[in-house]
Amino acid sequence: MKLKLKIWRQKNADSAGKIVDYDINNVSPDMSFLEMLDVLNEDLIAKGDDPVEFDHDCREGICGACSLQINGEPHGPDRGVTTCQLHMRKFKDGDTIYIEPFRAKAFPVVKDLIVDRSAFDRIQQAGGYISVNTSGNTIDANAIPINKHDADKAFDAATCIGCGACVAACKNASAMLFTSAKVSQFSLLPQGKVEATERVMNMVKQMDLEGFGNCTNTGACEVECPKGISLENIARLNREYLSASVKG
C-alpha cells in the first residue's frame, strides 16, 4: 500500500506546530498503525530528518500510552481498539491520513504527537484509592463476599486504561468518562463505600481545576473509548456527587 500522511509536527510545548506531508510506500496491511510509523521513522532517520515522536509502550492495548487523533478520531476509525491495535488493513491503498495529537487544554503538547496527560494522575491522587495500609494487616479476602454482579461492574469500570480518548473525542474536552470510571470502580465495592463522599467531591474538584470542560452528555466519549467504558458510570458519578453535595 502507498499512503499520504499529514502529520502534526511541533518541536516542544512552547513552539508553534504545523502539519507536514509525507509519502510512504511499502505499507503491509498486516502492520499495526504504529509499525507503519516505525517504517516512516526509519526512512526519516536514513534521510537525516528528525523522526516523529509519539507515545507508546505495551503495543497491545493495555498500558494506555498510545494516543493519536487519526482522521479526526481518537485511536482511529476502528472501534474498541487503541491506536497500537489498529491495523493498516483498515485503510486503502492511496488513502490520505491525518495524524494529530489528542487536543485538549488540559493535555498540552510535549512534542509532535506526544501530549502531557499528567492531569489524569492528579485526579486520581485527589482520592482515587481506598485508605488501607499496605503492610498486610487486613482481613481474609473471603470475609466479605461481594455480589458477582457488582464485582463484575466494578471490574468493567476498572478496565479504563487512562488513555484520554474520551477527552479528545469530546467537544468540551470533558474528563467525565475517565473520572466516573475511577469513582465507580470504588463506589460499587463495599470496601470503597466508606470514603465515597470525600472521594467523589475531591476527584471532581481536581478535574475542574485541571481545566477539563463540562459534560453536556453528547456521548462521543463512549463511542471512542477503546475499552467500552459505559455512560452509566457518568450517571453514577452524578448521583454520587449530588448526594455527596447534599451531605457535604
Binding site: S118, S135, D140
Partner: protein, 667 residues
C-alpha cells in the same frame, strides 16, 4: 567481594521468615522521616515497595520512564496471580506452592526465598481485595480460581485477562495515597542512567528528564532497583517497547553481581511472527491452556496443505490430529510447564508440522471446550434437547466470559475468528528468571542497593511457573523489602541528607553527559533499531530455545563485533535537549549489547540443560532436559570486570534441605 553471602536465617524452613523479622533492626518512626529511599520502577514490585516504604514513614522518590506510574509493564500481565489460599479445598498449602515453585524452577532456586514467597502469598490477596482490586468472583460472592501450567491445584486468582492491570492499578492507588500525603515524590518520564556510590554505598542515581533532556542528580540513603526484566535483548518479545536492562546493567557495572543471565523464559502461547516489520510479540495468556488443546496435523502432507492455505484445520478429522502434549505428557497434558510446552512446539515445527506460512506455528483449539461447556450449560438451564448449534452458542458465551478480551485481541491482530477456527500460536521470549543477584534481604552485592521483582534473580530458578511473577513482585514490594531494608537503614539514622554536590555525583554525571554527547555526534549511518534487530537475531538463533557450544561461542564473538560497529556507525538524530526517543533507545541498546554477550557466556559455561536453558548436548534419548546436579547445582553470579567476556564467576551453592532433588517429570 569474593564470597556470596546469602544471609539465609538459621532454623527450620517454616520459621525462618518470622524469626528473621523479629531479629532485624528497626528504624523508629521519628527517624524514618530523616531517611530517603529511591525506587527505580513503578511496576508491581516498585509501586508496592514505594507505597509501603512511604507508609512506614520513609521519604520516597520513584522513577519511571513512562508518563505515569500506572503504565509500567506489569499492566500487561493477563492470566493471574498465585496464592496458597486453598479456597478450593483441593489440597493446596504453603508447602505445596513452595514445592511446585522449586520443582517448576528445575531446582535452581533458593529454598528459603521461595518458602517465604509461598508464605506471604495468601496475604497478597487479602491486601489487594482490601484495596478494591476487583478479582473474579463466583455467584456466591467468593473469589474464583483457575489453574495454570505445571501444577495440579487451582490457586490462581484473576481478573478476566487483565489481572496485571488490576493489581498494578491497586499498587498505583496505594502510591497515589502516599503522593497525596506528600510521602512519595514521583518522577515520571525520567530514566535512571547510573548509580552513584559514596564510600562504597549506594547513595543516589543520575537520571535524565526525558522531556527536557536535563541530567539530574538524586541522592538517598538506599536505592531500590525494580526495573523489570531484560527480555528485549531479543528485540522481539512480549515485553513493552521500552522495557530495558539499563538500570540493572548500570548497577552491575558498579559492582552488583548479575545472576544466571541465560535463564530466560520462552512462553509457548504467543501470536506467531507475521513479517519483518514486526515490532513486538503478543502473548496469549497461559490460562488459555486450561481450555484449549494444542495440536498439529499428524500427516506431513496435511501440514503442508494447511500452510499453503489449501486445507482448513477444521476439516482435519480427529484421528489425523496430533495432540502432542497430551500424547507425550499424559498426566499434565496441555498444562505442562512453559519450557516443556515451548520445546515441544519447536520440535514439531522443526520436524515439518508447522501450520502457518512460516512453518512456525501450532494450533490452540477451543472447539472441545466450547462444546463441553455448552452441554453443561444446556443441562443446568433445562434445555434437554438442545441442538449442536444451540450448545455451541452457549459454549461460546462461556468461553467469551472467561477469555473475551484475549479472543478479541487475537482477532484484531490476526484477522481470524478464534471461536470458529483454532488459534495459531508459537513460543516467544517472555520473562527473565535471571537478574541481579540478591541475598535473603533482597540486597545486591552493593551495600544499600536492593533489587526487587523481575529485575532480581531470586525465586524462579531456571523456569518460572505461570502467575508467579505477579506474586513475587508484590511479595517483594509490599511485604519483604520494606522490612529487610530497615536492617540496613538503622545505621543511617544520624547520617543526615546526602549532598548531591559530592564529587561522586559530579563524576557520574560527567560520564553520562559524555556518553550522550558521543552518541549524538556520532553521525553514523545505521539506525538504533538496525542494531537492536541484529542483536535480536543472534540471540534468538544462538541463545534461544536450544543452544549449543559452537553457537554460543559464535554469539559471543558476533555480539562483540556488533557492539563495536554500533559505536562506530550508529546514527542518533536530533539533540540531547528535549524529548528524543532515538537517544533513549540508543542508551538502552548500548547496554543490551553488553548484556547479550554475558548471557551467551553464562549459557556456554552451564554444561547442563535445566528449565528454560536447553543445551542440545545435554538431553535424554527422549529429548528431555538432562540436568547435572553434581556440577551445576549453583547460582552463577557474574562480577563485572570491564568487558562482558572477562566477567568473573562466583558460585552460590544451592542447598536443598527440605526438598529431595528429582528429575522433573510431567509424564
Amino acid at each position: 567481594m569474593a564470597t556470596l553471602e546469602s544471609k539465609i536465617p538459621q532454623g527450620p524452613l517454616a520459621d525462618k521468615w518470622t524469626k528473621h523479622k523479629n531479629d532485624i533492626d528497626l528504624v523508629n518512626p521519628a527517624n524514618k522521616r530523616n531517611i530517603d529511599v529511591i525506587v527505580v520502577g513503578t511496576g508491581l514490585a516498585g509501586g508496592s515497595a514505594a507505597a509501603t516504604l512511604a507508609e512506614l514513614g520513609y521519604n520516597v522518590k520513584t522513577f519511571c520512564y513512562q508518563d505515569s506510574p500506572r503504565r509500567a509493564h506489569s499492566i500487561a500481565a493477563q492470566g493471574g496471580i498465585n496464592a496458597a489460599k486453598n479456597y478450593q479445598g483441593d489440597g493446596d498449602s504453603v508447602y505445596r506452592l513452595f514445592y511446585d515453585t522449586v520443582k517448576g524452577g528445575d531446582y535452581r532456586a533458593r529454598e528459603a526465598n521461595v518458602y517465604r514467597l509461598a508464605e506471604v502469598s495468601a496475604n497478597i490477596i487479602d491486601q489487594c481485595v482490601a484495596q478494591g482490586v476487583p478479582f473474579a468472583r463466583e455467584y456466591g460472592g467468593l473469589l474464583d480460581n483457575r489453574s495454570f501450567g505445571g501444577v495440579l491445584v487451582s490457586r490462581t486468582f484473576y481478573a478476566k485477562g487483565q489481572t496485571g492491570q488490576q493489581l498494578l492499578l491497586g499498587a498505583y492507588s496505594a502510591m497515589n495515597r502516599q503522593i497525596n500525603r506528600g510521602k512519595i515524590k514521583a518522577y515520571n518520564r525520567h530514566e535512571m542512567l547510573d548509580l552513584v556510590l559514596v564510600d562504597g554505598k549506594a547513595r543516589g542515581i543520575i537520571a535524565r528528564d526525558l522531556v527536557t533532556g536535563e541530567i539530574e542528580r538524586h541522592s538517598a540513603h538506599a536505592v531500590v532497583i525494580a526495573s523489570g526484566g531484560y527480555g528485549n535483548v531479543f528485540f522481539l518479545s512480549t515485553n513493552a517497547m521500552g522495557s530495558n536492562v539499563t538500570a540493572a546493567w548500570k548497577i552491575h557495572k558498579k559492582g552488583a553481581h548479575f545472576a544466571n543471565p541465560c535463564f530466560t523464559q520462552i512462553h509457548p502461547t504467543c501470536i506467531p511472527v507475521s513479517g519483518d516489520h514486526q515490532s513486538k510479540l503478543t502473548l496469549m495468556s497461559e490460562s488459555l491452556r486450561n481450555d484449549g488443546r494444542i495440536w498439529v496435523p499428524k500427516k506431513l502432507e496435511d501440514a503442508k496443505a494447511v500452510r499453503e492455505g489449501k486445507l482448513k484445520p477444521t476439516a482435519i478429522p480427529e484421528e489425523d490430529r496430533d495432540y502432542y502434549l497430551e500424547r507425550r505428557y499424559p498426566s499434565f497434558g496441555n498444562l505442562v510447564p512453559r519450557d516443556v510446552a515451548s520445546r515441544a512446539a519447536k520440535e514439531r515445527c522443526d520436524a515439518g508440522y508447522g501450520v502457518n506460512a512460516t512453518g512456525e506455528a501450532v494450533f490452540l483449539d477451543f472447539d472441545a471446550a466450547i462444546m463441553r461447556y455448552g452441554r453443561e450449560k444446556a443441562i443446568t438451564s433445562g434445555m434437554k434437547n438442545a441442538s449442536d448449534a444451540e450448545v455451541r452458542k452457549l459454549g461460546e458465551e462461556i468461553i467469551e466470559s472467561k477469555y473475551g478480551n484475549l479472543f478479541q485481541m487475537y482477532e484484531k491482530i490476526v484477522d481470524e475468528n478464534p471461536y470458529k477456527t483454532p488459534m495459531m500460536i508459537y513460543p516467544a521470549v517472555h520473562y527473565t528468571m535471571g537478574g541481579i543477584w540478591v541475598d535473603y534481604n533482597l540486597m545486591t552485592t552493593i551495600p544499600g542497593c536492593y533489587a526487587a521483582g523481575e529485575a532480581n534473580f531470586s525465586d524462579h530458578g531456571a523456569n518460572r511457573l505461570g502467575a508467579s511473577a505477579l506474586m513475587q513482585g508484590l511479595a517483594d514490594g509490599y511485604f519483604v523489602l520494606p522490612y529487610t531494608i530497615g536492617d540496613y537503614l538503622s545505621d543511617d539514622i544520624r547520617t543526615g541528607p546526602i549532598s548531591t554536590d559530592l564529587p561522586e555525583f559530579e563524576k557520574a554525571e560527567k560520564n553520562i553527559k559524555e556518553q550522550i554527547n558521543s552518541l549524538i555526534n556520532n553521525n553514523g549511518t545505521n539506525s538504533v533499531d538496525y542494531y537492536h534487530k541484529k542483536l535480536g537475531k543472534i540471540m534468538w538463533n544462538k541463545c534461544g530455545m536450544a543452544r549449543n557450544e559452537q553457537g554460543l561461542k559464535e554469539a559471543m564473538e558476533e555480539i562483540r563485533a556488533l557492539r563495536e560497529d554500533f559505536y562506530k556507525n550508529v546514527r542518533v538524530p536530533g539533540d540531547e535537549n528535549g524529548k528524543n526517543s532515538e537517544l533513549e533507545k540508543a542508551l538502552r541498546v548500548a547496554d543490551f549489547l553488553e548484556l547479550g554477550e554475558l548471557f551467551a557466556k553464562d549459557a556456554l559455561h552451564r554444561n547442563e540443560s535445566c528449565g528454560g536453558h536447553f543445551r542440545e548436548e545435554y538431553q535424554t534419548e527422549e529429548g528431555e532436559a538432562l540436568r547435572d546436579d553434581e556440577n551445576f547445582k549453583y547460582v552463577a553470579a557474574w562480577e563485572y570486570k570491564g568487558e562482558p567476556k572477562d566477567a568473573v564467576l562466583h558460585k552460590e551453592d544451592l542447598v536443598y534441605e527440605n526438598i529431595e532433588l528429582k528429575t522433573r517429570s510431567y509424564k
